[in-house]
Symmetry: D2
Subunit: 329 residues, 4 copies
């Protein structure tokens, strides 16, 4: 089928390529000329403007947005609201807050334009591995887009069948209509929240393994463990096998001491919104929040709160501060 | 090679079977006659007593203990200390505390007997999938046992090669000599600590997904999500793919509302010891500890601490208690 | 001075009484006739309607709202917007979300009406102990209201002077203009967030003390501690002395086993908003969030997340569930 | 009464002074000659050696140890075991691990020597404010020592009576026999665990208050709050009044930006042991553990675990690391 792709960066560019390989037609647009040229080299056509992109598509059109959540997505959606026709569809493939989907879908619906929110997981590996697509919004648009979704998704063969599961449904292909407007991004949001938790679990575990070599521990219980080999080991037959563990093994194979990193870890909105959703639902989420807070802390040095702890200790006990890097008695 | 197997339950019985299939000889012993009969049916030989098991093995012997950590392992180790000869080896395949390994290895070494601590992951799937083996202790014994370890382990084909990794080493087979006495169980302990964290991350995430259908949320942001389909979906192409997610999908396929469960979740020593190791190493482990505490809490109803919160609220605000299951304003 | 009080419940009624004792005039209104009668008995006058309350006050008027945050406060504010005159002031003494203050202050400002958000701490003890008042909003209105604020507040004598502090400022009286609209409720919100954290710290500590009597612990390290006496003990000279500890001691004196409580603990908005504010500010708040989550959990039995943990454990290990109340090996 | 004091540092020296002021006789010993001179100046007598100290006391003797927990206390206890006579008593006033008390009490009992473990709270303020004393061990020795304990403790007047409490008991004086050997230090351990939790609750709350001035927040919800005034304000009439809040107000009065601190916060054994005790008792302690972990983290820069998070993010998303101090999109 024919698809417009707005945003041809790391994600959008690769998705366009995967669609082209799957026999679809892609008309792309990106502010960066190099990205447009790359699309043409891959067999797509590049439009000079958003208007030209719309003009190049035959109705009912489908325009996939792969631009940063927030202002860029808002702007593109509003522009398309003015350019598209009733029956056309906008697909937001970014990491949009699900309440924004609901609002934008309403704005588009006023013009008879469909909206899909398509949470997209896969990262730089998606081109080869396929993208996991969590979709919410207008079901007729979802059904019309299924040929493209099926191409983007990893396909049934990407995982062995699940025991006791009655075969069938698109989830087995790697894409799913999750519910009404916002449902796709809601599911993607929680996906990322879980991702933070999983990552933090490995991070803490490997740090405990590494810490076993610490001076100060009794010699007979001190271990200089080879984390690279342990990550590799766990990839086979253990309970903790996962794709993130595969990546951990790869990262440790490249740089066993992770000396190329400072440890300042960014977070994107989904981790925050997942904690907020948990709070709104009155659901305890100690692991998901701890994982988020670890990232907040990782970007700071000597927080005000920690200084206050030191200040209180000096007040009541006359205690000097610890030395950074120092241990405890 | 020839191996003695003490304990022929769910783990030991299956491991014996996998060894037999791999062409090894297994002499087994278990208090339960049915387990002994099952071993014979699978082609092994069953000894009537531990003494008989030792007598049936040719030196240098290797006896694998697959009995509960704690008293049962202690007792079996001390008995073998009296029965084995210099050069023989005891392999503790259970979930023993690593400091106990160090102590027992010393006791055995006094008689010239080798000790290996072999953290074993794989559960009921191990028979077919293979066991991930994290081994510590006497390296000569490890090397002598490699034929058996290689059979028990999943083998290289169980996972694709790791990018940027120089090929080689037994970790790629699924077994590894991790270090001196206790190192194997230390690595297994942290493995299980991570496992708790991963499980809790999924548990919280799925609970947030389910909570999105809650009354009280604004209708336009309320979603009745199909968790079974979402678990299946995430198995393909997403960042959170893992073996635990495969099991989650299977569990939800069998019982989508998990109505067969009360939610009282046991914990075994490893999760606790991992938190203690983190504390001993002065390493923050918020996720691993939160996962452990969630299990502690799951087995209680109305803890004393929570009653104290209610009591304080009544004191300062005259507040009545919430209704169980009730929400908040 | 003269003040209107809307809402004469536990908080509003006592505040009116304290104002009357301080020589102020109070015109009150409440839907409940009994509350109105009680005000009259205490020397105030009760209006039959909100309109009558406004009519009974001389301009520039000050009307203090002491009604539940949310719909009731919104409704009263909008009604007063229609009834009051330029130069009059509305004081919101409830636990309003600070962003609502900003919005409502703007609505009132359109009519020249002032708005103060007055976070009020003190609970049922406030009548005698005084109320801690955290105020945001129009400074001219704050200054006009200071006579009333000073009466409501505990006063300088309520705490010994702070070392190294240059004397002066209203904080020493127990009331403070914290900043522009919303600042008072923002400070109150964080106050309550801290309160949750403090309460949970005591709750956990007392639970650990109580748990020391547990069967299963080694006899020589098992202690049947008298929590009532320990709470009393800590009130003198220890680092953990606090008003909440005083209340804990009182609660334990009344009911040492807290058998009158189920442990289902409510939460109000401030605890949630504090966590959300921390997330918005990218500030790690592990304690404040853990305290909130403990309350969420306290109102549930066997959460879905916990059932999922059990389901995973059955999948990979064939493990049966724990018995509620049961421990672990 | 007559008392030996071993260790005349910040704690021991002040305690000796308070005992002397109370009319007791103190014979002290310290390795540091200056500390010995200070004791003499305060009216005590200083022994040149531990042997001389013992010789200077009339049986039945009482020797109070106020030396660091661990090796110093072990050494002093063993030395006194050789020097004291049946009926004499050793009081360990340090922060000893309660299981060490049990062991040491047994060693002393072999010689007929009594042992008390006296958890001591009060810090540098204890001299004037009195010490809160949590005592375990031989009850006859406790009773014999009560005159000294009563002098050291703050006394009944230090806090108002507790409502609904039947008057009586030494807890109202500020000292208590908590139970058998180790019970005093167990209670002190949990006291310190709670202390960590309380401190962290304030630390997080004040950091959220400070963070409200952050750029990036909407101007209408951004507040430049005066933390010094807010700490002072909360000291009167609020739910969060406490001694730690008094100290916070003092610290902020001295240094409002806490610029004299780096924020590297030490921890001592009790916080760790409390978490371990909670784990041993299977009691969830999310707040107490989070408070401990915050201290661990405060002493590090860029932990290995955080580097691993960065490494995974680069693997799956090609993400660059955050800038330290940087926020998130």
């Amino acid at each position: 089928m024919q698809l417009g792709m707005v945003g041809l960066g790391r994600m959008g560019g690769n998705m366009a390529r995967r669609l082209l390989r799957g026999g679809h037609q892609v008309v792309g647009w990106d502010r960066a000329p190099a990205a447009a040229r790359a699309l043409e080299a891959a067999g797509g056509s590049a439009a000079a403007t958003l208007e030209a992109l719309v003009a190049a598509l035959a109705p009912p059109r489908a325009v996939w947005l792969m631009v940063p959540a927030g202002a860029a997505t808002e702007e593109a959606t509003l522009a398309l609201r003015g350019l598209l026709s009733p029956g056309d569809a906008v697909v937001d493939g970014g990491n949009t807050f699900f309440k924004d989907d609901v609002r934008r879908a309403r704005l588009l619906a006023e013009r008879g334009i469909r909206h899909l929110d398509a949470g997209t997981s896969g990262g730089v590996f998606g081109l080869e591995r396929g993208y996991c697509l969590m979709v919410g919004g207008d079901r007729d648009a979802f059904e019309r887009l299924e040929p493209a979704l099926r191409t983007l998704a990893p396909g049934r063969a990407a995982a062995p069948p699940t025991a006791a599961r009655a075969a069938g449904g698109t989830a087995e292909e790697g894409y799913l209509h999750c519910g009404p407007h916002g449902a796709g991004h809601f599911v993607k949001m929680v996906h990322n929240g879980i991702e933070y938790g999983l990552m933090q679990a490995y991070a803490e575990g490997f740090e405990v393994l590494r810490g076993a070599a610490q001076e100060g521990l009794a010699a007979e219980h001190r271990y200089a463990l080879d984390l690279r080999e342990i990550a590799e080991l766990w990839r086979r037959g253990s309970v903790v096998t996962s794709w993130l563990l595969d990546l951990t093994a790869a990262a440790l194979a490249q740089d066993p001491g992770l000396e190329g990193f400072t440890g300042a870890v960014d977070d994107s909105g989904e981790g925050r919104w997942t904690v907020e959703a948990a709070v709104e639902e009155a659901i305890p989420a100690p692991v998901l929040s701890a994982a988020l807070f670890a990232r907040f802390r990782s970007r700071q040095a000597g927080t005000f709160g920690e200084k206050l702890l030191s200040a209180m200790r000096r007040q009541f006990g006359g205690h000097a501060e610890a030395k950074p890097g120092g241990g405890a008695p």
